[in-house]
Symmetry: D2
Amino acid sequence: MALNVLALNGTLKSSSSTETSSTARLLDLIAEEFKSFDAVTETVWLADHDIKPGVTSDEGDGDAWPAIRTKILGADILLIGTPIWLGQPGSVIKRALERMDAFLEETDDEGRMVSYGKVAAVAVVGNEDGAHHVSAEVFQALNDVGFTIPANAVAYWVGEAMGSTNFVDLEETPDTVTTMVEMLVRNTAHLANLLQEHQYPGEQ
Amino acid sequence: MALNVLALNGTLKSSSSTETSSTARLLDLIAEEFKSFDAVTETVWLADHDIKPGVTSDEGDGDAWPAIRTKILGADILLIGTPIWLGQPGSVIKRALERMDAFLEETDDEGRMVSYGKVAAVAVVGNEDGAHHVSAEVFQALNDVGFTIPANAVAYWVGEAMGSTNFVDLEETPDTVTTMVEMLVRNTAHLANLLQEHQYPGEQ
Amino acid sequence: MALNVLALNGTLKSSSSTETSSTARLLDLIAEEFKSFDAVTETVWLADHDIKPGVTSDEGDGDAWPAIRTKILGADILLIGTPIWLGQPGSVIKRALERMDAFLEETDDEGRMVSYGKVAAVAVVGNEDGAHHVSAEVFQALNDVGFTIPANAVAYWVGEAMGSTNFVDLEETPDTVTTMVEMLVRNTAHLANLLQEHQYPGEQ
Amino acid sequence: MALNVLALNGTLKSSSSTETSSTARLLDLIAEEFKSFDAVTETVWLADHDIKPGVTSDEGDGDAWPAIRTKILGADILLIGTPIWLGQPGSVIKRALERMDAFLEETDDEGRMVSYGKVAAVAVVGNEDGAHHVSAEVFQALNDVGFTIPANAVAYWVGEAMGSTNFVDLEETPDTVTTMVEMLVRNTAHLANLLQEHQYPGEQ
């Protein structure tokens, strides 16, 4: 069965911005690689949507989250893409992660959250410094709310200390990034296939 | 000269919410204590304002940040208040910190950011776990953008692991919290007074 | 096939200390639960061993790491146990994680680290505050060096803010901890069994 | 009055290692700059000393910490130098920070820890990625145990993502690093002088 991948692009810019998004470039590389594994990627550009602050699954009038949440629940793989600001995850992706706090209470009769069996991976870009920490924050948040993290589940690029080059402006994708993207996709698809056939057992 | 304190309340709720805010309760305790040091506190309830995502000081039409930024620049002390979600700072306070990234470029002729000489402190509340990490994230972000951190610059409360009590619902303020609040205020006011009279030197 | 679990106890105390270890108590609860899944746990009490600082797999004369590394490579599941100090992982467990940096270069012909297919989980205890952040640090470190993280892969206990109660001194194990321990073990064993039969594919 | 700076070098290597230390190079740059501010730097190369695990100020026979602690208490400025491993602070510097946990109980009659009035700064180097997070961990740990953090209190260098260049092997110090070193020293010395003359008030 084909795998469904949902990519959340947490860039601070809207998709109509005249500036291109480094996060989008990295997510595109990953989506392209997923095709080789019979996996179809849909991307949600978060800054285009009015996701209300809160920790329930529906914060009422005008809240864009319920529709995004439905896409997450329909996916086998969740791919979190975010830029780094001040060495930390951006506020746009934080908002989305925060909304998944609601999964803690959304369990089946056997105590399994709605996210159980779904696999998550992370894509991070910045001018400089912060990718490991961003992945730490995202791994922990996602794991707390029920996602499974495959081996080497992060692809990233950052420049030298205090650099100002954007990933989107690199003429070529560095080989190291290509290697990471392939590894991330291979591992994520493998684990998603296993869990699709063998869901976690619940409590008795 | 009296000290001006600006408190940013990063609760996810708007001030018109029917639920009371634990972050507000802790900020109020701190504001009350600041009075003894001839310091006047103004609080901005961030979720009431439409702060656009971005890393410039003005993200255009409808952006509430420029007015908040003006208040920050008029204050001697910046007090960051935030709830904990998933063990991490909330997305509302992250948005505000991210906007201060612009300070990195906003320097005087001697290389000092607009924030130089200002002192910052942190107030954190949660049902359980996460206060130290939240303060780590906030200290580093604020320090990067030019703020000074006095000794013991955090006041917090969290309950026992997996607890669900809110700080706002405690019948009495725990003595430990009172002690921390007093220490935070005493140290913050002391350092703000020193720096008000003796600004950092610039590069020659 | 039975699963082998290796638990690393990162308490700062040696096993001959007159003080009992809260980390040991939590690891024991987990080990006991693993028995129901036909999984046998061996525990290494790290502070009893002279693990040299460094990032190779053998730092020479007197280095206790090579023997511990052999146990890790023989296990299906790695369980990281650590106390919290200053809201962060202790230095003893940091030393062990740091030594696994060497796995980054220890790959087979298809680019898979020696840790591929192994599943990891985390046990954290403290008087107060810090468990989520400790798990974030450990998840990221372990994932970077090739481990897979199952859903809800952390069990923890901490007391109320500024508390001084030790987990080892609680008269009864809180129900919330028991639930987490069961979940951790169930998920970890499930994923370890899957990966034991279906190792990650390598690069072609 | 001249300022005393104590630098702790948290490299994993001993000073007799045949490999040179990137952390040492950065600390040396900072120490040289401190001379212009009439500040004398002493450096302790931590890996040369047998610092026992624990959270008291003296862990008994053979513990090297009491002597290092005495040096810290004699300094006006504490400079924490560390390499990055797995995107996090190294285990050697973690051990030293952990030992300062004891300061929490070492207060005078007015509730001020032995570290009050001392200013701290951080120097971080790595092949790639992690400096901001390392400074976050160190700032929070040091602030909890009573140190004051001046504006822009970190100097760092890291290379591009997945790079393997060491700071110690750079032919020239990048201008950005020189600028950061100057800023760190200028701000740290200024604040240390202020606090030397105007210690924090205690509780009444």
